[in-house]
C-alpha cells in the first residue's frame, strides 16, 4: 500500500467529492450517509456548529440566513465584481466590508470568508476519507475550473490549507476528466472536453500521446453553469407569482429557497421526460403550479446554452484545429445531462460525445489519478504525465494604461517570462509594477492581480539600474514573482498588495485543524464515531430482543450474541477505536440471522397493511395546462 495517501478532491459549485486510487482504479469515497456527493452547502445550526453537505441542505429552507451555497462563485473575487452575483444569489455580505477587503459572508451572527466556507466543505471530505481509510489524510489534489484566474486559484489553495490539507496540486477540471477517461482508453489522438457544471463552464482541447496529456488550448466562463438555468427559472416563477396573484415573495428567503428546490427538480426531470410540473407550496398555504414541457424549457435556456459555443470555437481556433480533427469529445458536469446541451456539443464538434463515466464523478476520479501520479505512480498510471496550460495571458501595465502581455494564454505551464525595469529619475529607489491577467488590450479591462513595489534599488542615475523581474507560473497556474537588480547584484525587495485574496498571516489564523494536532483530532473523532455506532447497534439489539424474531433463534445463537454484546460493552468505554470497531463488526456478524428474521417479519407486516407514506403521496395526475400558465389554488 502507498504510504503517502493523497486524495483527489473535486470542490464543486454545487457538489463536492473525494476520491482515491484503489489498486488500478480511481474510486469515489462515500460519506457517512453512504452518498458519494457532498452538496457544497454550509450551515450554522442553532448551537453555532458548522453543518456541511446533505445535512446542511434543510437549513437552506428552514433558516436561509444561516446557510450558504454556491460559494465557489465568490472565490478570489472582490466586492466590485460580484454585483451581478448578488442580484441572483442570496449571499449575505458582512455589513462592515471595506473596499479591497476579502469578502465575508454572514451566517447567523458570524462571518466567514469564501475560502473558510470552502474549507468547511473540504474538511468534511477530509473526514470522509479518514473514516474510510481509518487513518489521517493531510495531502490532496484539488480541482479548479480551467478558466480560474490566479486569485481564484490562490483562494482555493488557501481553503485547502485552512482545512488542514497540503494542496500538492491544483488540477484543471476538464484535464482531470481526461485523465479519468485516458486511464481506460490509453490511446493517442485529439480530445475535446466540454465541462458544464453547476457554476462554471470550461472547454479544453488535449493531445494524447503515449501517456502524455498535453493541453493545447482551453477556454471558458467561470460564471456560467446550471446555477444560471436555476436562476432563470426562479425569476420566471417569481414573476408569475407576482403577476398572477400580486404576491411578491422575492424577498422571502424561505419561499425563494423552496422555489429553487422545485425548479432544480423540474430541470432534472426534463432531461428524462418530455414534460413536468413545477409545484411550490407558498407562504399562506397557497400553491403555485405550472406545467413545463421540454420544448419550452429548451427555448428558455437556449441563450444560456449558446454562451458555451464561443469559448469552444475560440479554443478550436487557438489550438489551430477544425472540428473534424477532434477524435473524441468527453462530457463533464451535471448540466451536460440536458439533451439540449448534448445537441449543441454534437453540432460544435460533429461527434457523439462520450458519456461512459458519470459526469458528476469523473473530475474527482481524475483528481485521484493525478494524486496517484504525484505519489510516485503505479502500474496503472505509469507513463502518464499531464502538461497543462495557463488559461489567461499574463501582462504588465505599461505607459498609457496598456497591457504588455508577457506570457500568452495557452502557454504550457510551468512558464516564465523575464522583464527588465529601470528608473525614471536620479536616485529613484522604488519601481511600481502592476501585474494583470486577461486578454484585453487596456489594463483597466484586465484582471488586476497585484501591485508591487521593487524597493531598495541602489542610488544610481536615472536609467542606469537594471532590475530583472522574473514571472513564473507554476504547475498549479499560480504566479510567482522574484526580482534582482543586475548592476549591483542585490535582490530587490518586493512589497506586494494583492488585489484580492488573503495574506499568509490571515490564512494561518484561520487554519481549522492545525497539522500538529491532526493525528490527535483524528483519533478523538474516530473514538467518538465508533462509540456512537456502538450505541446504535446495541440499541437495535435491545429492540430485536423484544421482537418475535428473537424467539426463533436457538439458545446457542442467543448465547453467542450475549457474549459479543458483553465484549462490545466492555471496550466501548475505552479510547481504542480500532477495538470498538472490531467488536461492532463481530456483533454485526453474530446478529446477521436475527436481522434477517426481523426483516422477513417486517415485510410480511407491511404487505398486510398500507405503508405509512402512501397516504401522503400524489394527488392524481394534474390536468394538462394548454398555455402552461401558472395556476393557483
Amino acid at each position: 500500500m502507498n504510504s503517502e495517501r493523497i486524495v483527489g478532491i473535486d470542490l464543486g459549485t454545487t457538489n463536492s467529492l473525494v476520491a482515491f486510487m484503489q489498486g488500478d482504479r480511481p474510486v469515489v469515497i462515500p460519506g457517512e450517509d453512504g452518498l458519494n456527493l457532498v452538496p457544497s452547502v454550509v450551515a450554522l445550526d442553532d448551537k453555532d456548529q458548522i453543518i456541511v453537505g446533505n445535512a446542511a441542505r434543510k437549513y437552506l429552507i428552514e433558516t436561509p440566513e444561516r446557510a450558504v451555497y454556491s460559494i465557489k462563485r465568490l472565490m478570489g473575487r472582490g466586492i466590485e465584481d460580484i454585483r451581478q452575483e448578488l442580484k441572483l444569489f442570496p449571499f449575505r455580505l458582512a455589513d462592515d466590508l471595506q473596499p479591497g477587503e476579502v469578502l465575508r459572508i454572514r451566517l447567523g451572527e458570524k462571518t466567514f470568508t469564501p475560502p473558510e466556507i470552502s474549507a468547511f466543505v473540504l474538511r468534511q471530505l477530509k473526514r470522509n476519507a479518514e473514516r474510510f481509510f481509518n487513518a489521517p489524510v493531510t495531502k490532496a489534489v484539488i480541482t479548479v475550473p480551467a478558466y480560474f484566474n490566479d486569485a481564484q486559484r490562490q483562494a482555493t489553495k488557501d481553503a485547502g490549507r485552512i482545512a488542514g490539507l497540503e494542496v500538492l496540486r491544483l488540477v484543471n477540471e476538464p484535464t482531470a476528466a481526461s485523465l479519468a477517461y485516458g486511464l481506460d482508453k490509453k490511446q493517442n489522438g485529439i480530445v475535446a472536453v466540454y465541462d458544464l457544471g453547476g457554476g462554471t463552464f470550461d472547454v479544453s482541447i488535449l493531445k494524447l500521446h503515449d501517456g502524455i496529456f498535453e493541453v493545447v488550448a482551453t477556454n471558458g466562463d467561470t460564471h456560467l453553469g446550471g446555477d444560471d438555468i436555476d436562476n432563470l427559472l426562479i425569476t420566471i416563477a417569481l414573476d408569475d407569482i407576482r403577476g398572477d396573484m400580486g404576491l411578491d415573495v422575492s424577498r422571502n428567503g424561505e419561499a425563494v429557497a423552496t422555489i429553487r428546490k422545485a425548479v432544480i427538480e423540474a430541470k432534472i426531470a426534463l432531461s428524462l421526460q418530455p414534460a413536468t410540473t413545477l409545484e411550490v407550496e407558498l407562504p399562506g398555504g397557497k400553491r403555485y403550479l405550472r406545467e413545463i414541457t421540454r420544448q419550452q424549457f429548451e427555448q428558455l435556456i437556449q441563450p444560456i446554452v449558446d454562451r458555451t459555443a464561443s469559448p469552444c470555437k475560440q479554443a478550436l481556433k487557438d489550438a489551430g484545429l477544425k472540428p473534424e480533427q477532434i477524435d473524441e469529445v468527453v462530457l463533464v458536469g451535471g448540466s451536460t445531462r440536458i439533451p439540449k446541451v448534448r445537441a449543441l456539443v454534437e453540432e460544435l464538434f460533429r461527434r457523439t460525445p462520450h458519456t461512459d463515466l458519470n459526469p458528476d464523478e469523473v473530475v474527482a476520479l481524475g483528481a485521484a489519478v493525478q494524486a496517484n501520479i504525484l505519489a510516485g505512480g503505479s502500474e496503472a498510471t505509469e507513463n502518464m504525465l499531464l502538461l497543462d496550460v495557463t488559461p489567461l495571458s499574463l501582462g504588465i501595465e505599461v505607459a498609457g494604461g496598456v497591457t504588455d502581455k508577457i506570457i500568452l494564454r495557452n502557454s504550457t505551464i510551468p512558464a516564465s517570462a523575464t522583464q527588465h525595469y529601470t528608473t525614471q529619475v536620479d536616485g529613484q529607489a522604488n519601481v511600481a509594477i502592476h501585474v494583470l491577467q486577461g486578454e484585453r488590450e487596456l489594463a483597466k479591462d484586465c484582471r488586476s492581480l497585484a501591485r508591487f513595489d521593487l524597493k531598495g534599488i541602489p542610488p544610481m542615475p536615472a536609467g542606469i539600474p537594471r532590475v530583472e523581474v522574473k514571472f513564473l507560473i507554476d504547475a498549479n497556474g499560480i504566479l510567482h514573482v522574484s526580482a534582482r537588480e543586475q548592476r549591483s547584484g542585490t535582490e530587490a525587495e518586493i512589497e506586494v498588495q494583492p488585489s484580492y485574496g488573503l495574506t499568509d498571516e490571515q490564512v494561518e489564523s484561520m487554519i481549522l485543524d492545525s497539522f500538529d494536532s491532526a493525528e490527535e483530532d483524528f483519533r478523538q473523532r474516530q473514538v467518538i464515531e465508533a462509540r456512537n455506532e456502538a450505541g446504535t447497534i446495541l440499541a437495535a439489539l435491545e429492540k430485536g430482543k423484544k421482537s418475535p424474531a428473537w424467539g426463533q433463534l436457538t439458545s446457542a445463537e442467543k448465547k453467542r450474541i450475549a457474549k459479543l454484546e458483553n465484549a462490545l460493552n466492555q471496550v466501548k468505554g475505552e479510547d481504542d477505536f480500532q477495538a470498538i470497531r472490531t467488536a461492532i463488526d463481530a456483533l454485526n456478524q453474530g446478529t446477521m440471522r436475527l436481522a434477517e428474521l426481523m426483516m422477513d417479519s417486517a415485510v410480511s407486516t407491511a404487505l398486510k397493511g398500507k405503508t405509512m407514506d402512501q397516504a401522503d403521496m400524489g394527488e392524481g395526475p394534474h390536468a394538462p395546462h394548454p398555455v402552461s400558465k401558472a395556476e393557483f389554488e
Binding site: Q154, R169, G400, V402
Partner: protein, 247 residues
C-alpha cells in the same frame, strides 16, 4: 500569487554547474542525471542550447516535439512532488525553461524573433506592444512603409478615411466596403507569402552558419528584420481595416 525574494533568478546553478550529478556523482547530462534520473540545478542557457541544438533556423519540429516529451518526462514538477524543496525548485525552473524554449522554437516566427534577439537585434519599433502603446496614447508612430506596399497603402488610407467619414455621417457605401475587403484579402495573401520568403532567409542564415561567414550571417539577419517589419506592418493594416469595418 506568491512573491519570493529569497531566491535569485535562474542563478541556482550559474557559474558553479558541475559535470557530475549532485546526487549520485555520475557524469550527467545537462538537465537531469542519466544514471539516477535526478533533476540537476538549472544553468543559464539559451533555448537552442537547452535542446542541444545549433542556432539553425530550419528546425525539424517533429523531432523537437519528441525531445520535448522526453525531457518533460524527466523534468516536470509532478515527478519531484515527493522530493525535497530544493529539487522541487530546480524541477520548476528546469521545466519552465523547457516549456519556454519549446514554445519559442516550435513556432517559425517566434523562433526567428528569438534568434534575432540572441544576435543582438531589437525589433521593438514595429512590435505589437509598441504599436498598441502608440495607439492607446494617441501618438502617431513613425513607421517605414515597405516600398512594394506604398501604392496599396496610399489608396487604402484614403479609403479608410472616407469610410470613417461616411460612418460619422451615418452613410453607407457598399462599393467602398467591397474595395476595402479587396485590399484586406490582398494584404492577407501577401502576409501568407512572407512565410515562404522567410524560409529562404533561414536557408541563407543556416548556410552562413555552416561557412562561419559573419558577413553572410549579418546579411541574413538584416533580411529577416526587414521581413518581420513588413509582416507586422501588414498585420497592423489588416487590423485597421478590420476595426474600420467593424469586425
Amino acid at each position: 500569487m506568491t512573491i519570493d525574494t529569497s531566491k535569485t533568478i535562474a542563478a541556482a546553478g550559474s557559474g558553479k554547474a558541475t559535470a557530475s550529478c549532485w546526487s549520485c556523482g555520475e557524469m550527467r547530462a545537462a538537465h537531469f542525471c542519466h544514471a539516477c534520473g535526478k533533476v540537476q540545478p538549472p544553468s543559464p542557457v539559451d533555448y537552442f542550447s537547452f535542446f542541444g541544438m545549433p542556432r539553425r533556423l530550419n528546425v525539424d519540429v517533429a523531432s523537437l516535439e519528441r525531445e520535448f516529451y522526453e525531457l518533460s518526462r524527466k523534468l516536470h514538477p509532478d515527478l519531484s512532488a515527493r522530493a525535497d524543496k530544493r529539487e522541487q525548485e530546480w524541477s520548476l525552473e528546469q521545466s519552465s525553461l523547457l516549456n519556454d524554449a519549446y514554445r519559442t522554437l516550435k513556432d517559425p516566427i517566434k523562433r526567428t524573433q528569438y534568434l534575432l534577439r540572441l544576435e543582438g537585434v531589437e525589433l521593438e519599433e514595429q512590435s505589437k506592444t509598441a504599436t498598441e502603446k502608440a495607439r492607446a496614447s494617441g501618438e502617431v508612430k513613425k513607421q517605414i512603409v515597405p516600398p512594394d506596399l506604398l501604392e496599396e497603402v496610399f489608396e487604402l488610407n484614403m479609403q479608410l478615411e472616407e469610410l470613417r467619414m461616411n460612418q460619422k455621417m451615418g452613410e453607407d457605401d457598399p462599393t467602398l466596403v467591397k474595395d476595402l475587403e479587396g485590399h484586406r484579402s490582398r494584404l492577407e495573401k501577401k502576409y501568407e507569402e512572407l512565410a515562404e520568403e522567410l524560409k529562404s532567409h533561414w536557408n541563407q542564415w543556416d548556410k552562413a552558419l555552416d561557412r562561419h561567414s559573419n558577413e553572410e550571417q549579418r546579411a541574413a539577419l538584416d533580411h529577416m528584420v526587414d521581413l518581420l517589419n513588413r509582416r507586422s506592418y501588414i498585420r497592423n493594416l489588416v487590423q485597421d481595416v478590420n476595426e474600420a469595418l467593424g469586425n
